[in-house]
């Protein structure tokens, strides 16, 4: 199909997205009119200097934050103006998050951490347990299911966090500096997990990183400066 009008929209479709903090003198344009399309099955790395708006972009894409202006269609549905609670529902059913600081619940086993989003999905006990074990298996940690985060290494904790993001079977996983707290060896492990998920399961991943080496695991690299997208290239060429 070449007809633009009938062409299906990509999974993530941003047009003229802005996010402005503060008013008047103190105004900060964290995002300044971004256009971005991400297809299902893509693996996108976002890089750029500190303060360039990478995290803000992730938050908007992940529906944690609402843009000040612009259009955001997720799965073809306009979500830019949705209420807090509706955005929560979107996150619950379609989005998974991985954070730099793992953000696991302390004194709570890996299994329970992974089950957490499933509780909000209203899944029953047995089903939840099975799904959580399956997600832990995908990151190679099913044998650590009953350990607390404090008993796991940083890399293992981040893998549990990835399992938690996967457990709800989301369409997109958003990872803001997932390797930011890890050394190179563990970082590579995490990136391999993400790449496998993208390649074998066709999971759509958007990731922010400061390290070019980690960005190379992605298929596509976006370079941001001052709240704008400056470059958007496949990773093979960018390297």
């Amino acid at each position: 199909m070449t007809d633009a009008a009938t062409r299906r929209l990509p999974l993530i479709h941003l047009r003229g997205i802005s996010r402005v903090y503060g008013h008047g003198e103190a105004e900060v344009r964290a995002l300044d009119g971004i256009d971005l399309d991400i297809d299902e099955g893509d693996f996108v790395a976002i890089m750029g200097p500190s303060g360039s708006g990478k995290s803000t972009a992730m938050n908007v894409i992940g529906c944690l934050d609402a843009p000040t202006a612009g259009q955001y269609r997720f799965n073809g549905v306009e979500v830019a103006g949705l209420s807090r609670d509706l955005r929560a529902l979107l996150r619950r059913h379609y989005l998974g998050f991985v954070f730099q600081g793992y953000n696991l619940l302390a004194r709570t086993t890996a299994l329970h951490n992974v089950e957490l989003p499933l509780i909000y999905k209203g899944m029953g006990r047995a089903e939840r347990h099975a799904a959580a074990i399956e997600a832990l298996a995908k990151v190679g940690l099913e044998h650590r299911a009953h350990h607390d985060p404090s008993e796991l290494s940083g890399g293992q904790q981040q893998r549990v966090a990835i399992a938690r993001a996967l457990a709800g079977n989301p369409q997109v996983v958003l990872a803001d500096e997932p390797t930011g707290n890890l050394d190179t060896k563990l970082s590579r492990e995490i990136m391999e997990v993400l790449r496998d998920l993208n390649e074998t399961d066709g999971l759509t991943i958007v990731m922010v990183t400061h390290e070019a080496e980690m960005a190379r695991y992605a298929r596509r690299l976006i370079w941001m400066v001052d709240g704008r997208i400056e470059r958007d290239t496949p990773t093979e060429e960018a390297a």
Binding site: N59, G62, L64, D65, R84, D85, A88, L89, R91, R92, H93, L95, G96, F97, F99, N103, L104, L105, R107, L116, P117, I119, Y120, K121, G122, R164, G168
Partner: protein, 403 residues
């Protein structure tokens, strides 16, 4: 989901068991105090009622002075009764069976090396009939003893135990002040009354003996009148008032210089005292619940701050504001319900202890227990709402970034 929320709340509470317990102490004290008080109060009310029934609710107590029970300046200006008045009253009252004159004083009674401070009462055999005393051993006074005021006495069980132990009191001579007095009878024990005062702790002698050898005057301190069977007490009281006003020559428009009380009135007065006590303690309990509620609010606010990141995680993975609100609200409610339960247990135990100490029946009240439970839940809702709302209103991005 609700079950998960409750499970989660219980986990959070037990993760900090000591802190949780200290937090709910106010509620424990408040609920415990109310339940203990109500339990004891109901037991004593029941005991008073039973006591009065034992006495016979057809008894009237006639005291000199108006408002004698309110402890006005009776005695000084008010003329006492005497035996003549008592007998005239009995003669002229159609609705009264007997009227017993009584004079009383406190003093020490001595037998051998033993002694005891007790009530010394002067009266005649009419008192035993009116107040329902039965003789356990020995006999009551005979006419000659009453007429000439012989030094004889009938003693209560407590006095017997204290002075004689295992020895036989009958025929022994005890000393009451300067009077040497032969024990001729022993009364059957009535045990403790409602407020724990020992009804068996007294020595009784003929009125004349008392007047001559103990008080040194001819006063009668009070009269005990038994209302005829089937006569409404109110009518008997009115009759006493009319006749006594006449006997004491009180003119029209002048106030009574005596008080007539029936035992029902005394009972209601006694339970009135219990009521006042219950009211006072309820006020203390209310303050305590308020303090307890503030304690819960405080600890929930701390908890919300401590768990900001957790809230951020939950919001990020798709919890809605009302689910976070629910989580913290349920936690506050369960916390205060725990407090309420501990308070109920403590209150019932205290009530049981109090009841056995005061020798009154243990009467836990299911209604009050339920109300206490509901109240602690309400404290949880009211004081948990504000912290929970604060948690629910958090911005997930800020919450996740919280250190």
């Amino acid at each position: 989901m609700l079950w998960e929320t409750i499970r989660l709340a219980i986990q959070a509470i037990f993760r900090n068991a000591l802190r949780s317990f200290l937090t709910v102490l106010g509620i424990v004290i408040g609920v415990g105090a109310v339940i203990a008080m109500v339990t004891v109060g109901q037991g004593s009310t029941e005991q008073v009622t039973a006591d009065v029934e034992k006495l016979g609710s057809n008894l009237l107590m006639i005291l000199p002075g108006e408002d004698a029970m309110e402890g006005g300046p009776a005695g000084t200006a008010t003329p006492m009764f005497d035996l003549r008045i008592n007998d005239l009253l009995q003669e002229q009252l159609a609705l009264i069976d007997v009227s017993a004159p009584m004079s009383m004083s406190r003093g020490r009674v001595v037998f051998g090396n033993e002694n005891r401070r007790t009530d010394i009462v002067g009266t005649d055999n009419r008192y035993f009939t009116a107040a329902g005393w039965e003789i356990a051993r020995g006999r009551l006074f005979d006419t000659a003893e009453l007429k000439s005021g012989k030094p004889v006495c009938v003693i209560g069980e407590t006095v017997r135990k204290d002075l004689f132990g295992t020895a036989d009191p009958l025929g022994e001579v005890i000393r009451i002040r300067k009077l040497s007095c032969e024990v001729i009878g022993l009364l059957k024990s009535k045990g403790a009354s409602t407020f724990g005062n020992d009804q068996d702790d007294f020595v009784i002698m003929p009125l004349r003996t008392f007047q001559r050898r103990v008080s040194g005057n001819t006063d009668v301190n009070l009269m005990f009148a038994a209302v005829r069977d089937g006569v409404p007490t109110e009518r008997a009281v009115r009759e006493v008032e009319v006749v006594l006003r006449d006997l004491r020559r009180i003119g029209r428009g002048e106030d009574d210089d005596f008080t007539v009380m029936d035992m029902k009135q005394i009972a209601s007065m006694l339970s009135g005292i219990t009521g006042v006590l219950t009211g006072l303690l309820s006020a203390v309990a209310a303050v305590s619940l308020l303090v307890g509620g503030i304690g819960i609010m405080n600890i929930m606010l701390v908890s919300v701050t401590e768990r900001t990141r957790e809230i951020g995680i939950r919001l990020a993975i798709g919890a809605q504001a009302r689910q976070v609100l629910m989580q913290f609200l349920v936690e506050a409610i369960i916390l205060s319900l725990f407090g309420g339960l501990i308070g109920i247990a403590a209150g019932l135990s205290l009530g049981y202890l109090g009841a056995s100490l005061l020798a009154i029946p243990f009467r836990p009240d299911a209604g009050v227990v339920l109300i206490a439970f509901a109240f602690s839940a309400a404290v949880g809702v009211i004081f948990g709402y504000f912290p929970a709302r604060r948690a629910a209103r958090m911005n997930p991005i800020d919450a996740l970034r919280h250190e």
